[in-house]
């Protein structure tokens, strides 16, 4: 069963809440709070699903860069992007 999820969010509280829910539903969860850590986690092992916060509190890079990196390795890995701000421009 493919059940390994990589959870990328800079907000600790969100990571905690989402992690708890996923764990209760028998998923194996890895966490990353920065772009750097996220990239290294992906390089370590490609997860079965990525939950990705678009806006990471960093100056130059954000979730979109991580998305591009994942798609460059394997375009079939599903990515769920979450954002506190409904910004259509960013999605397109």
């Amino acid at each position: 069963m493919r059940n390994e999820i990589l959870l990328i969010d800079d907000e600790k509280d969100i990571r905690f809440a989402v992690h708890e829910i996923l764990k209760e539903n028998n998923f194996f969860v890895r966490e990353a709070d920065t772009v750097e850590k996220a990239l290294s986690e992906i390089k370590k092992k490609l997860p079965d699903l990525v939950i990705l916060d678009v806006l990471l509190d960093e100056k130059n890079r954000d979730g979109i860069d991580i998305l591009k990196f994942i798609k460059s390795i394997d375009a079939d890995v599903p990515v769920i992007m979450i954002s506190g701000h409904a910004n259509m421009k960013l999605l397109l």
């Binding site: 509280d13 905690f16 809440a17 989402v18 829910i21 506190g84």
Partner: protein, 591 residues
């Protein structure tokens, strides 16, 4: 009262008038053509009057100048006026002074002519002629009386022998010698005999002194200019005690001529002896008249300069006001020229335009600032909401099963938190809506239909409120953003409904009413919405400032959004005063 008279121009006009009248009068008097005589006394009086008037004028003008210069120091911007006056005074005074100096020189030349040799000779000669005439006249009388006395002596026997023949002879002698009255008197002056045509009643005896002198053999001539007659007295040699006394009348014109010649020459010599004084008097009169004219012209120069520069000064002050930011300043057209009228109108339009632009910029800057704030607020509120909501859900799922004591309370508390969080979320969404409101997309839409649709929704759900729509606009299809204007209408109607509900809580029987009137002119469509709710509880203008609300659960963004949308449609949001309820006038620019 005195101050009022001084400050008014009345005194100036009066003294101007008087100085001109007296100046002309003085000149006439000097040239001898006036109705009063040219003599020292009159000229002195005239001079004193003239100088007094000049003093009054001088006082008025100096006072005016001091006030004016003082003012121009205190109020800047009058320097133009000052320059005007300097020019005017220069232009009027300098030529006048030149003319005055040259005229004075000519005057002096004229006076000197009076006393040169030729005129002197003429005066002397005329006096000489008069004297000669007088002497000749007297010697002829003397000759006549002596001849007559001689004839009488020769025939004096007739006097005692035949009175009638003597009378004829006496009359004949008198007539022949052109002597008007002839008398015979004794040494006491008693009348003895007279010609038949003499007026005996008017007879006055000569003085005793004269009779005594005649007694000694002298021929006495008595000239009486006042009576226009020359009397002669001589003793008759034929008798001891009888004198011939004759009166010859002189031609009155001749007498007058003699009298005038005498007086004129006396006056001439008097003037001549005082010719320096005359010259000074003359110069004084002249200077007084000329200086009064110069003062007058300066005075009027000041008035004219004031009149010319007044509109410019007005403009300077208005421009100064504008430069310190007072765009409310308006130039009022009073009595200026047409050019100034146009200039003022242009100026007023300019300031109005600047004011309008300034308002527009200020408003859009304010919107921008509020958008920033709203965006930031939305972001900061939304961020913690996600973990809160997630955690809440987790607590509900995981722990409600394990709670056995006071389970209802536990769930109640969770619901309260959940509801409040939901409200916060809505608020945050409203903020981000306001912040992210797109530019309007204007397309041809039907306003009438939009309003009818909006109302019909409410008509179904709101049974306790009557909607009344009057559509009297001549235009219903024009370009506007359908979604945004719809939002405006819903927002306003919602406000009205909420305000009516609030009032109905106090008065259950209140019949809510919302009147909507649509009108238009060439440029705007107006939507006037009126309700009978609680009305505005604050100054209505404050309500378009974001985050201002009088509602318990309002975000304070509703009317800001309405105002912003209307402004982006070239229109405006106005609050109309109303005692019972609220009245709002919306405007939307047509195209």
């Amino acid at each position: 009262m005195i101050k009022k008279i001084l400050s008014s121009n009345l005194l100036l006009y009066i003294s101007t008038f008087l100085s001109i009248i007296f100046g002309i009068f003085t000149l006439y008097t000097f040239s001898g053509t006036s109705f009063i005589q040219l003599n020292e006394n009159n000229i002195q009086v005239l001079l004193i009057i003239n100088i007094s008037i000049i003093c009054v004028l001088l006082f008025l003008i100096i006072r005016k100048l001091i006030v004016f210069f003082y003012k121009s120091k205190v109020i800047s911007g009058l320097s133009t006026n000052l320059n005007f006056i300097k020019y005017f005074i220069f232009v009027t005074a300098v030529p006048s002074i030149f003319v005055a100096v040259f005229s004075l020189m000519l005057f002096n030349l004229g006076i000197e002519k009076w006393f040169d040799k030729k005129v002197n000779d003429v005066v002397n000669n005329s006096v000489e002629v008069a004297r000669n005439y007088l002497e000749e006249n007297q010697s002829s009388i003397k000759g006549e009386i002596l001849a007559m006395a001689n004839d009488l002596n020769r025939n004096f026997n007739l006097y005692s022998e035949n009175k009638q023949i003597f009378q004829n002879y006496f009359d004949q002698q008198s007539r022949f010698r052109k002597i008007e009255e002839s008398y015979l008197i004794n040494k006491d002056g008693l009348l003895l005999f007279s010609t038949s045509f003499s007026n005996k009643n008017n007879f006055i005896a000569p003085l005793k002194t004269f009779i005594d002198m005649a007694q000694n053999g002298q021929t006495i001539l008595i000239s009486d200019a006042n009576k226009n007659q020359t009397n002669a007295l001589v003793k008759l040699s034929s008798s001891e005690n009888i004198f011939l006394y004759t009166i010859r009348y002189v031609d009155p014109e001749t007498v007058n001529f003699l009298k005038n010649t005498g007086e004129a020459s006396t006056f001439y010599y008097k003037l001549k002896s005082n010719s320096l004084g005359l010259q000074i008097t003359f110069a004084a009169v002249y200077i007084v008249i000329v200086s009064s004219l110069i003062l007058l012209s300066s005075m009027y120069a000041i008035n004219i300069a004031n009149k010319i520069s007044r509109p410019i000064i007005k403009l300077i002050f208005a421009a100064k006001e504008v430069s310190v930011g007072n765009l409310e300043v308006k130039l009022k057209y009073e009595e200026e020229d047409d050019d100034f009228k146009k200039l003022y109108q242009t100026f007023n339009i300019m300031t109005q335009e600047i004011q309008a632009q300034k308002n527009k910029i200020a408003l859009s800057e304010r919107y921008q600032a509020w958008e920033m704030v709203a965006k930031k607020l939305a972001h900061e509120i939304k961020n913690p909401l996600t973990p809160i909501t997630l955690s809440l859900e987790r607590i509900k799922d995981r722990y409600s099963k394990q709670i056995n004591v006071d389970k209802a309370d536990f769930e109640n508390y969770l619901n309260i938190i959940s509801r409040q969080v939901e409200d916060i979320g809505k608020l945050a969404n409203e903020f981000s809506d306001f912040a992210r409101m797109p530019n309007p997309i204007k397309k041809s839409n039907n306003l009438k239909k939009l309003i009818e649709d909006s109302i019909s929704l409410y008509k179904l759900s709101e049974k306790k409120v009557i909607f009344n729509l009057v559509y009297s606009s001549t235009q219903d299809v024009f370009k506007f953003d359908l979604n945004q204007i719809s939002r405006v209408l819903i927002n306003i109607i919602k406000n009205s409904l909420e305000s009516i509900y609030e009032k109905q809580e106090l008065d259950k029987n209140l019949q809510g009413k919302i009147n909507i009137l649509i009108e238009n002119n060439n440029d705007f469509i107006y939507i006037i919405i009126e309700d009978n709710g609680v009305g505005f509880k604050t100054t209505p203008k404050d309500l378009i400032v974001p985050l201002t609300t009088t509602k318990q659960r309002g975000s304070g963004l509703g009317l800001s959004i309405v105002s912003k949308i209307l402004h982006e449609h070239g229109g405006d949001l106005n609050f109309i005063e109303k005692s019972n309820g609220a009245k709002i006038k919306l405007s939307i620019k047509i195209n």
